[in-house]
């Protein structure tokens, strides 16, 4: 690599080291931005301006905070306990099917172009208590993590199935900008492969996890 470009290398290395050493992520990110920014010749004030502007322009990423009071209130009034009783009453002790069903539901949401913010809105109040209801206490940590994973698998690969999904549009625009004839529908057609693969591997993992608790 050319010598005058070493700054970028240091900034990336800093991120990598922070990730591997599991240092406090906020600090690592800010330091890396500082190294990259100051290293490429921005002065401190300009760097603060870029930081502040980008932070303000991306406030939509944190809008989900608005959902917290309602979620917290119904939880305080015993939502989890009710879900536990309900699942128990229905005799539904197949967490693997619940998890896969949820992943499939998120794929359907993605296909419809819905962005749900599933972790605070659905996983914590609904899915996690459902999969934990009929599993022994020592399995709860794993089952809750699996509920979060089901949300991620479904969300990541499902959103590519919508021709107006954010990622698809971004890739479409990038490729057009590079001079390619693109078709949104053809792109979406190829997104079915990773999505189907994710459902398959998700199914295998969830089955494996709930098998472990039967044994």
């Amino acid at each position: 690599m050319p010598k005058e470009n070493n700054v970028q290398g240091w900034a990336v290395l800093l991120l990598l080291a922070g990730l591997l050493l599991r240092l406090r992520t906020t600090v690592v990110v800010l330091l890396s931005a500082g190294v990259a920014g100051l290293g490429c010749g921005l002065d401190g004030r300009k760097l603060l301006e870029i930081l502040g502007q980008a932070f303000l322009e991306n406030r939509t990423l944190t809008l989900f905070l608005l959902t917290l009071p309602a979620v917290a209130t119904v939880e305080h009034y015993g939502l989890k306990e009710w879900i536990g009783r309900w699942i128990h009453h229905r005799g539904w002790h197949r967490p693997a099917q619940l998890l896969l069903g949820y992943q499939f539901f998120r794929v359907v949401c993605g296909t419809l172009g819905l962005r749900l913010n599933g972790h605070p809105n659905l996983v914590r109040p609904l899915l996690a208590p459902m999969v934990c209801a009929e599993t022994p206490e020592e399995q709860h940590e794993t089952m809750k993590a699996a509920a979060a994973a089901a949300e991620n698998y479904g969300n990541f690969y499902g959103q590519n199935l919508s021709p107006v999904g954010g990622g698809v549009l971004m890739a479409f625009a990038t490729m057009k900008g590079l001079g390619y004839e693109m078709s949104l529908w053809r792109m979406v057609a190829f997104a079915t492969f990773p999505c189907a693969l994710a459902l398959l591997f998700g199914a295998l993992q969830f089955r494996h996890l709930s098998r472990r608790h039967d044994a």
């Binding site: 990259a36 309602a70 309900w86 993590a145």
Partner: protein, 301 residues
């Protein structure tokens, strides 16, 4: 319209900050309250602040978190007597997002802004429903929301911080630097090695920046287009989509994707901060290999 929603978040954070400052049992009452107060100011009054001042406030937030001063207070046990009606507020939120999205699709309005407004409206409806169903005093609702917010803590900040990092990285030319590095390792006639480099760069960059959005343009410009599509003439739709999707394998295994991998750890009160990532690792690897093989088949077949 979005500005009004930001103000709403700002007001809510202000409410949380005041409740935290007044909570005598909170282990880090003052710095935690200050943290939410500053974030509230950035949300509510952000558009009025000069950008350098906003940047300075962001640095202050990171300092408060970096010194370990942002903490959650004690959580009282929940009441045992729940009923089916408690699911109504929870279901109102996705229902409202769905309704707003459909309305926007039908009227041809901006879909992503519609979904965000639906989220805000749904949250308010859910709050009203929760209030009506439980008869909880407003003070209690505030404390419940604040405690949940506290368990997330500074993690809420990370997605926005990473977006800022992406902007600074673009200014510093990190993308060109990475693309240049790949060219030095792989010679331009090795198709399979180039597909591997393309996928590794995409997943790696997504892991470092926490999402595929920042990574894709860099990889498309540096590797996918000049080294794979131009010389070998494969279908750009197929390779672009698969490259984008390979990024998700990187996102699944990184703490940088805080809102997907760390926020749930806090929300679900898991003991290990890597619990979700650890579970996702084998699946991410299998997906990576599956897509890699498919792309090799598409470029060589």
């Amino acid at each position: 319209m979005l500005e009004a929603v930001y103000s709403l978040v700002g007001l809510m954070l202000l409410w949380f900050a005041l409740l935290t400052l007044g909570d005598q049992e909170h282990p880090r009452r003052l710095p935690t309250g200050a943290f939410w107060l500053i974030l509230g100011i950035l949300f509510g009054a952000g558009s009025l602040l000069p950008h350098w001042l906003a940047g300075l406030l962001v640095v202050a937030l990171v300092l408060l978190d970096g010194l370990g001063l942002v903490k959650a207070g004690p959580t009282p046990p929940s009441l045992p007597a729940g009923s089916a009606r408690l699911t109504i507020p929870i279901l109102l939120m996705p229902a409202s997002i769905l309704a707003a999205s459909l309305l926007c699709r039908w009227r041809g309005w901006d879909l992503s802004q519609g979904a965000l407004l639906g989220l805000a409206l749904g949250s308010l409806l859910a709050l009203l429903a929760a209030w009506g169903l439980t008869g909880a005093p407003l003070q209690e609702i505030g404390h419940a929301g604040r405690r949940l917010n506290d368990t997330l803590g500074a993690l809420s900040l990370l997605p926005q911080l990473l977006a800022s990092l992406g902007v600074v990285f673009a200014r510093a030319g990190v993308g060109d630097w990475l693309a240049g590095g790949v060219l030095q390792l792989v010679s331009p006639d090795q198709r399979v090695a180039l597909v591997v480099a393309n996928c590794l760069a995409m997943a790696g960059l997504a892991a470092l920046t926490g999402n595929s959005f920042a990574a894709f343009p860099v990889v498309a410009q540096g590797i996918l287009s000049p080294l794979l599509l131009k010389p070998f003439g494969s279908d750009p739709n197929a390779l672009a989509m698969l490259t984008l999707a390979v990024g998700a394998s990187g996102t699944l295994i990184t703490q940088m994707a805080a809102n997907f991998n760390l926020v749930p750890v806090a929300l679900l009160e898991l003991k290990s901060s890597l619990a979700v990532i650890r579970l996702q690792r084998p699946v991410a690897l299998a997906l990576f290999l599956g897509q890699l093989l498919f792309m090799i088949y598409l470029t060589t077949g």
